[in-house]
């Protein structure tokens, strides 16, 4: 069955069954490999994309539910001003180790900063705790979000 969805501003067509998760449509039908498979059950956040700006786990989102929503992936998120700032900060602070979770992290961070331009540490905790990083680069993820927000990268949490 053919589904037409809008991905990174372009109409794309995929001929799949309605229950096919958006993740596999992106990766294997549309050849957008930046969105990653980690758990298949929304526990890890590696597959995070934006649906109308809302961070969404594409591994449990059937393609039939996407409808007219605008899908943005790591391949397209740099087109937005916030997404570009986030990527720049990510590279400047050399956040990633293996990098596998990082597209999901960048998508979650971009959604956070779009909604909350000057996040507190608690805002960061709430927005980012659904995205696992097996290399545990959380220290630099936190710093990069602050840098992208124009805040000091110092860790000022109460100790």
């Amino acid at each position: 069955m053919a589904f037409t969805i809008t991905v990174n501003g372009k109409k794309r067509v995929a001929d799949v069954t309605p229950d096919t998760p958006l993740l596999w449509v992106l990766r294997d039908e549309l050849d957008l490999k930046g969105t990653k498979f980690g758990c298949g059950m929304s526990f890890c956040g590696a597959c995070t994309v934006h649906l109308d700006g809302v961070p969404t786990r594409s591994c449990i989102t059937p393609v039939s539910r996407v409808g007219n929503a605008s899908v943005v992936t790591i391949e397209g998120v740099g087109d937005s001003e916030v997404g570009k700032r986030v990527k720049t900060a990510w590279l400047a602070l050399d956040v990633m180790q293996c990098g596998y979770c990082q597209s999901g992290q960048v998508m979650a961070a971009t959604a956070l900063l779009t909604r909350t331009p000057k996040p507190t540490d608690q805002d960061i905790d709430e927005a980012m705790s659904g995205n696992l990083c097996r290399c545990a680069t959380y220290t630099r993820i936190r710093a990069a979000i602050k840098q992208a927000a124009g805040l000091s990268t110092d860790d000022t949490r109460e100790v």
Binding site: G34, C101, T139
Partner: protein, 762 residues
């Protein structure tokens, strides 16, 4: 080349545990490696028989010129450097080329890096045991220096000037007297025709002249990852490729009797489904090819849908009686008897206990844990009509996979090409080759190129687990509070009389050598579950048990845990460590241990900890592993429901005289510490009926952002060869946390993972 393979792959300890050679003793090995990796190659320079994708050398053309198999320079000055080891997030695709580029005197801006194919001309190609730095620090710099020398020689020849009058600076050769210059790009073709220098006699730079080593250098592929480029193994696509899933026995070692293949084949998109029989009974422990059912489909999602329908009948020859509770029962029983074997015995422990002023006993236990690389195990394989095989694998040990494929498919290793993709996390899991041999076998049987990808359940339930273990400790103190006698009855796992992989205790493990009377005994529980190295094998578990019990000793003796340790290590001196499994071990330097203990105490204000509010505690631990010395302090409290809250972590590490890439070094240390914290708080694999219970991240947890505390990492620079950082920072955080929780709550954690219920105030 012999020294390159000084480790024993069958021992299954490449992820660590086993420092391969002493920093001092290995000096000769380093040079040999250099010769093998560079010298031998450099002699073959003009033969043009390397497997690299670079163009053959042709003087005067516009083609890039290959100075040696690691270095190719294009006429426009772009230097392409080959990274020989897998990139698993430890940064070696950046670090190894930095070493070469430094001595080549290239401008880093003009350097491009490329992952090597698996080929003996590069020497060792694995990522494990934090060995990439100690094994390559010197050889890679010599490879770069050789290239620089050839470029200088080419310039001198062009100018008909003495070599001694020429110098280099970031991609340019200058003739000092005349001021003339030539770029590396202009010289490369000529340089490639010159004889290769003698590697061991090359002079290396004075470290004060470093322009690349020691500078914060971002990962070479990071920008491409953030563009979503297909760099990882899971991203591999081949023309005509099908997608595969492979279902193995939930009870380890079971064999397939039958499966409803017809029903599965009738599912949409399924091209084939078939039973695969494993190679031999040992394969289950070696992570070779084991029995299973393969489903091959047009898409991976279709293969998963078909997997839901798959029903397999397994035989009952395996070990369905095994369970975590049964292991615990057996351990308790074994602890009441004499150990089955002795690992080490110094002095007369019984006599020492009988005269002790105070005797302390405690039982510690830790669980099996899984690796859970975030990129699930996968491999793309193409068994071709001509009998050759091409493989794309996210692997830490490409040779292991090729070896298994060669054996299982009866193909000569020389006919198997292995591409190393970027790896979405290693942690030791990808030292195994199961996913490689499975992909190759499925491609062969399906007659098509195939991408095999495990789902998360399969990934968690078919691992080489960090083995659990039980320690029954006893310590004897003198009236002055000195540790005089120490005993550990270590109940671990094995198959028959053989200790399971990564389940051993070294005779040299601390506090051996520092206590007059000491005994390490060992007993084995029969195990049907595969085990293997996980980041800092041994240390990731043993540090918790030993360093927690040492803390108990300090409290029982009324001593500051820092002072007790400093007293135990004694004055700074180098203590020889006996060779292990025939392999020489580096000496242990008590001065370096003291150095990081004192540094972390200073940075954390350890001596002022009594001023902390009630309910908040600080804990300390030290661990030496993989040549690295790390001391860590954790400050923690618990919530009303007993949930630990980590306020802050301080770490002090000593990995020698040079931090090669500070960008990677601090990241590795912080990540390893948080990895250990996650294991202490969340991780246990339990066995029931011979199978693993956990299926996903809801029941096998990783640390999350809200649990990640601030971390300070400090490096103490000492005049020792630079060593690795992937593993040494991990172990101390587990006991440091538990020791802090003891101060905070008065309750001692003796079993991992930490159970908040046990820490709740009454």
């Amino acid at each position: 080349m012999a020294s390159l393979n000084a480790y024993d792959p069958s021992a299954g300890t490449r992820a660590g545990g086993e420092p391969i050679a002493a920093t001092q003793l290995s000096r000769r090995a380093f040079l040999t490696t250099g010769l093998a990796a560079g010298g031998g190659l450099l002699l073959t320079l003009n033969v043009g028989c390397t497997p690299s994708a670079s163009q053959p050398v042709s003087v005067g053309s516009n083609a890039a010129a290959e100075l040696n198999p690691f270095i190719t320079i294009a006429p426009d000055g772009i230097v392409t450097i080959v990274a020989k080891n897998p990139e698993i997030g430890q940064g070696m695709k950046t670090t190894l080329p930095m070493l070469i580029a430094e001595e080549l005197d290239a401008d880093w801006v003009n350097v491009r890096t490329r992952e090597a194919l698996l080929n003996p001309i590069y020497g060792d190609q694995f990522a494990g045991g934090s060995m990439s730095t100690p094994l390559n620090w010197e050889p890679m710099r010599r490879v770069g220096a050789a290239g620089r020398q050839m470029l200088i020689a080419a310039a001198a020849k062009t100018w008909e000037a003495p070599v001694a009058e020429c110098e280099t600076s970031q991609g340019i050769v200058r003739h000092r007297p005349s001021g003339r210059t030539l770029s590396y790009g202009a010289l490369a073709a000529k340089a490639a025709t010159l004889p290769a220098p003698d590697l061991p006699s090359i002079t290396l730079k004075d470290p004060k002249d470093y322009r690349i080593i020691g500078k914060f250098t971002g990962g070479v592929d990071s920008a491409r990852v953030l563009e979503g480029q297909p760099l990882f193994g899971i991203d591999t696509v081949l023309p005509g490729m099908l997608y595969a899933t492979y279902e193995k026995a939930p009870v380890f070692g079971s064999r397939v009797v039958s499966a409803n293949l017809a029903a599965v084949k009738a599912m949409p998109g399924v091209r084939d489904a078939f039973i695969v029989h494993g190679s031999d009974p040992q394969a289950v422990f070696e992570l070779g090819l084991v029995d299973g059912v393969a489903i091959v489909a047009d898409s991976w999602w279709q293969a998963q849908k078909a997997l839901d329908k798959l029903q397999i009948v397994w035989d009952r020859r395996s070990t369905p009686g095994q369970s975590t509770s049964e292991f615990e029962r057996q351990a308790a029983q074994l602890s009441r008897h004499k150990p089955q074997s002795m690992v080490r015995r110094d002095g007369d422990v019984d006599k020492a206990f009988s005269r002790a002023h105070k005797v302390l006993e405690a039982a510690y236990a830790y669980p099996f844990i899984a690796h859970v690389d975030l990129e699930p195990q996968n491999c793309t394989a193409h068994c071709k009509r001509d009998g050759s095989i091409e493989i794309w694998a996210p692997t830490q040990d490409p040779d292991r996979g090729r070896e298994l494929v060669a054996k299982a498919l009866g193909v000569s290793a020389s006919r198997i090409t292995v591409h190393m993709t970027r790896v979405g996390g290693g942690f030791g899991r990808r030292l195994q080759g199961d996913y490689v041999v499975e992909a190759a076998m499925i491609s062969k049987l399906a007659g098509r190129p195939v991408k095999l990808l495990t789902n998360r359940r399969q990934d968690i339930q078919h691992d080489a687990y960090r083995p659990g273990g039980f320690h029954y400790f006893k310590a004897g103190l003198t009236a002055e509070g000195r540790l005089d006698a120490f005993r550990d009855h270590f109940v671990t796992f094995g198959q028959g009389n053989t200790v399971a992989r990564s389940a051993d205790l070294s005779a040299a493990h601390f506090p051996a050598g520092f206590v007059p009377s000491l005994e390490y005994g060992q007993s084995l529980i029969e195990l049907g579950v595969p085990t293997g190295p996980l980041r800092n094998p041994g240390g990731n578990a043993l540090a918790f048990a030993f360093e927690s019990f040492i803390d108990e000793v300090a409290h029982a003796a009324g001593r500051d845990p820092l002072d007790l340790r400093l007293d135990l290590y004694g004055p700074p001196r180098v203590m020889p460590v006996p060779s292990r499994r025939g392999r020489p071990q580096p000496p242990f330097d008590t001065g370096r241990a003291r150095g990081v203990l004192e540094l972390v105490a200073e940075k954390s204000a350890w001596r002022n900890r009594k001023e902390l509010p009630r309910g908040t505690g600080m804990g300390l631990a030290f661990y030496y592993s993989h040549y690295g010395y790390f001391a860590e302090v954790v400050k923690a409290s618990v919530a009303a429901d007993g949930t630990p809250k980590v306020h802050k972590i301080w770490a002090a590490g000593d990995v020698g005289r040079q931090i090669i890439n500070p960008a990677g070094a601090y990241n590795q240390a912080q990540g390893a510490i948080l990895d250990g914290l996650g294991a202490a708080l969340h991780q246990a694999i339990t066995i029931e009926g011979g199978r693993v219970v956990q299926e996903n991240f809801n029941t096998f947890g990783l640390l999350r952002m809200r649990e990640a505390p601030p971390i300070e990492v400090h490096f103490r620079i000492t005049d020792n060869p630079p060593t690795g950082l992937g593993e040494p920072p991990l172990p101390p955080v587990l006991p440091a946390l538990c020791n802090a929780l003891y101060v905070a709550t008065g309750k001692r954690v003796r079993k991992l993972p930490i159970d908040p219920k046990e820490l709740r105030s009454a």
